[in-house]
Symmetry: C2
Subunit: 236 residues, 2 copies
């Protein structure tokens, strides 16, 4: 598919138009950022690995009845996707305490939740630092309707449950994942963005080893190997 | 009433036991802190003024059917209060955007809310920095039952509505207020803590002048005069 105009370049992906106004190409980059862009770096092969991981997981979710934006492979680092009008909200689905949830509620990382998953909403707004939003804030901002929020939340929980089970069979614990949703030309809600070690926390179920972007955020080393290991587990 | 053991000393108040195990004395201090204690100072006469302001407002709310912990004047800087088992949650009721809400949702200070008030919940935990809690976090932490949360939230909104109207007649806009609740010996929920320029934002309705702790937080000067002006408006 011929790539057209570059429509958007983010921290980890570039989105291109195509001849079909409802089809975009999403190209994954090796660059990585953390802490609202304060930390920057490159993870060799990340674009290729995240494209492969996301493609496989979107396919899995489609097979299990979750509508996604995935249309097919485009290249080693790129996929064809449905054009979506994205909700400016990140849906963070948490199965165990980690990261900002641990800091917020005082649970050591890895603590089991009483009634998982917890779904948190964050406002996709770089200038504001992607803040946490409670229901009162969402109702005030009106950036997503209550009906769409409920439907996307249900989809987020279903997708999370499918992913938890899929990874458990591969010796990986899905600690949490950040999902983004939008509406296609027909008004149907689809899961967009990516599902990768950039956007999920994966821990080896036996050793607890972190196999995700926390290795980059926290300078743990072995970042490329961690992403490669996730891809290897997915492909087996 | 003879003061007994000092039970608690916080940033702005000291609580003493009395001979009656269900009655405490709450003594207001002149010391002030902001930004999780990173900023410290003294506001001359604050203890006396906040005691007078809180006593007047608790009395008003009791007259209007809101149960509070207020039992009566004890001294110029102290009041007798019901002993309460406090919920470790701050209820922040917001009528206009200001402070952290402005930062969170990107509204300039003073922006009207579409459907006021917004009620936010913060975890009273100094070590965690009193973080914002959404419903999912409250359900996880189980530090307050859903029934108590609903009842206290309803009381917070009722108290806010009474206070908004009371201050509007005195030329003050109640922008937001932080309320705390607890249960007395009979299990009834009562409004506790204090209601003062330390815990509310008051703006002059005509000039917009800030008459509250933001003058201290933001080094605006005239802090004592602002507290005195609020007391003067309340007493008229």
């Amino acid at each position: 598919m011929t790539r057209g105009e570059k429509l958007y370049e983010g921290k980890a992906k570039i989105v291109y138009a195509t001849a079909d106004p409802e089809v975009y190409v999403q190209d994954f980059k090796d660059s990585a950022t953390a802490f609202d862009g304060k930390k920057r770096g490159t993870i060799g092969g990340k674009g290729r690995m995240n494209n492969a991981i996301s493609a496989r997981l979107f396919t899995l979710l489609e097979e299990r009845g979750i509508a996604t934006h995935f249309l097919g492979w485009e290249s080693e680092t790129a996929m064809r996707i449905h054009r979506l009008d994205m909700f400016p909200v990140e849906f963070v689905v948490r199965n165990l305490a980690a990261g900002s949830l641990s800091k917020r509620i005082g649970y050591p990382e890895g603590t089991a939740l009483k009634n998982p998953p917890i779904v948190e909403y964050y406002y996709k707004d770089d200038a504001l630092g992607d803040p946490l939003l409670c229901m009162a804030h969402l109702n005030e901002l009106q950036v997503i309707s209550p009906e769409d929020l409920a439907e996307a939340t249900a989809m987020a929980k279903q997708a999370n449950a499918i992913l938890v089970e899929f990874f458990a069979r591969r010796g990986l614990t899905l600690v949490d994942c950040k999902l983004e949703f939008g509406k296609d030309a027909r008004g149907a809600i689809r899961l967009g963005d990516e599902i990768s070690p950039d956007t999920c926390r994966f821990w080896d179920s036996e050793t607890g080893e972190k196999l995700d972007k926390d290795r980059f955020r926290r300078d743990l080393g072995g970042v490329e190997d961690a992403y490669a290991e996730v891809l290897r587990r997915i492909e087996r």
